[in-house]
Symmetry: C2
Subunit: 359 residues, 2 copies
């Protein structure tokens, strides 16, 4: 086994999920993530945790959703599993990142809505999402396989504690601030962040961070006003999306457009009321992610980018007892802020053209 | 998709597991059983059942067991899943039938023992085990891949109702009988079957039958006396086992030997008290299984064979409220009865040299 696979598994289990002896762990395995799953199983065995592996395949999902009449029940067995789990590790990795591309948005949304309780129960665990670098992810990134492995392990196997210290500076500013303004090209957007708590997302549940790799500081904005254009291309639900433009009034999307994939954005916005509000404002700070690879897990952490998510807000950002944006979706969109851009907090510029004011 | 894969899935879901709308179904997927899993997902979607797929990999299992200190907890999350499930479909199929060959029997047994409640909960569902015909199963059978597919689908995709009618004749004799005697070569074994109910194992939960393919009539013997030699070769726990000889007194194994794999038999016998008793006497009646393929799912149903299992008895064979052989194991051993053999029930020969008395 490639030693990097074992290091990845150890960072995931120890740094990210803080697995303890006796933890009930669900490991969700993509069809091509087998090798990482073996390394994770070994790490879980060593730490005396209990392992249940689930199988997460886009092709299975597609076959099921295509055949179903769309009147979904919530699955009691899966809910019971999620409620009893202490840790949920998602090891993404399939053969085709477009495996569910032809599933109608309607079926997808109905399925997601029926599974709200399962999702909430999963969010109550120490959950972490990662990916095994596969050939299909390399292809999505338009990179050679070996080159992609180098890139992915570079972003994952790193000194997380020192990045956490850097990111803490941004968190402190956001925690103290009330209003954020993002200006960049055609974008001019203001959001309230009063009473919200920023997350220093250092790829560990100890930091309320649930992605590996991570490397972003994010919070949950409110009262969004203005217009934003997302110039980083993306694939959402298997479809290419380019040049998304959102216009907000009173915190809600009131107009939208896209140079490509406008239908997908429309599907997302129609999921539920929360899907038309922002659930997240994030600032990418992992400079080992130095290129766009068309994978949100990496792209949103890229240095010199800012992203916003439609839909669900993370509880960690909200005041105790307050429910932020509730939605069945959480769809991130990214904008490059390396040029002609500034990010202001309460009128003070904290980042200009990708450089923080202390740099 | 090969149309046989779809037919296999439909027989599994409809004939075998009797899936209904709203059923909570667990589908356990082997790493090479993906294609069958896709067809099963499609069938479950069509029938409006709820699907959770688990990942069943020998390599994962091995990594976990090798790394663990051997003090296993029962996994509460997996237990909750099993208790809430209505249906449990196991789709076997890996890359290497010896994937766990170097896991010590001790670790294996400790793991199995810790999971007794999970196993019992699973047996309370409409559970069915099948396999996707893989290259590794073809290799195990010393057959070409295409040839093996022909063989496997021949045994699986068939008229189960007509075989059920044939097998009912044998069930009636066993239900009415009190004592079975098996004589064949060096074998001379008597077993009590008084008050036991035989199962007409027609590959459907409607017949208390949980294997696809099936095609055997089995019951739970007691008070076993005598000696039996199993001349059909087998692979147990990844190891080759040949010429097993068991000697019984007062229902328990008092002496054993094997020309190959004696250690494995020793490991099995030491699992617990129940592992030294017989849990099953089965008569193979699926004549489409016309050759030995070193896979118990098929071999034990072969025409002209009789098999006995050490360990766990099936509740369906036992009088209401009676607990038969309780054990963490159920290990089948097979003997050829096509020549120089007879099977007697209460002194009357019902099968001689593989032919039933009415043939």
């Amino acid at each position: 086994m490639d030693e990097r696979v074992r290091e990845h598994a150890e960072i995931l289990v120890d740094w990210s999920a803080r697995v303890e002896p006796g933890d009930d762990v669900v490991v969700s395995v993509g069809p091509e993530a087998h090798e990482l799953a073996v390394a994770v199983a070994e790490a879980l065995g060593e730490r005396g945790a209990n392992l249940l592996a689930t199988y997460s395949s886009g092709e299975l999902q597609r076959a099921y959703l295509q055949a179903h009449d769309g009147e979904f029940d919530e699955a009691d067995h899966e809910l019971a599993l999620a409620r009893e789990a202490d840790v949920y590790l998602s090891l993404g990795g399939g053969r085709n990142t477009s495996a569910t591309a032809d599933v109608p948005g309607e079926a997808r949304n109905a399925y997601r809505e029926a599974r709200q309780d399962i999702r909430e129960a999963r969010y109550d665990t120490r959950w972490v999402s990662t990916v095994h670098p596969t050939r299909s992810l390399a292809q999505q990134a338009t990179m050679a396989y070996e080159e992609y492995q180098e890139f992915a392990y570079g972003a994952i196997i790193r000194d997380w504690e020192s990045l956490a210290a850097e990111m803490d500076r941004v968190k402190e500013i956001l925690d103290a601030g009330s209003e954020v303004r993002l200006v960049s090209g055609d974008t001019d957007l203001t959001m309230s962040i009063a009473d919200r708590t920023a997350v220093n997302s250092a790829a560990s549940v100890a930091y309320d961070s649930h992605n590996l790799p991570s490397g972003e500081v994010f919070t949950a904005p409110a009262e969004t006003e203005g217009e934003v254009v997302f110039d980083v291309p993306m694939t959402i639900r298997g479809e290419s999306v380019r040049g998304v433009r959102l216009e907000f009034a009173d915190g809600e999307v009131v107009d939208y457009g896209a140079s490509e994939g406008e239908d997908v954005i429309g599907d997302v916005l129609e999921t539920d009321d929360g899907a038309r509000r922002l659930g997240e404002l994030g600032i990418g700070m992992n400079r080992d992610i130095d290129r766009y690879t068309d994978n949100i897990l990496f792209d949103e952490k890229m240095g010199d980018t800012v992203h916003l998510a439609l839909g669900r807000a993370y509880d960690a950002c909200l005041p105790e007892g307050e429910s932020g944006t509730a939605s069945a979706v959480h769809v991130d969109l990214i904008t490059d802020v390396s040029e002609d851009s500034r990010l202001e907090v309460d009128g003070e510029v904290i980042q200009r053209n990708g450089r923080f004011r202390w740099e």
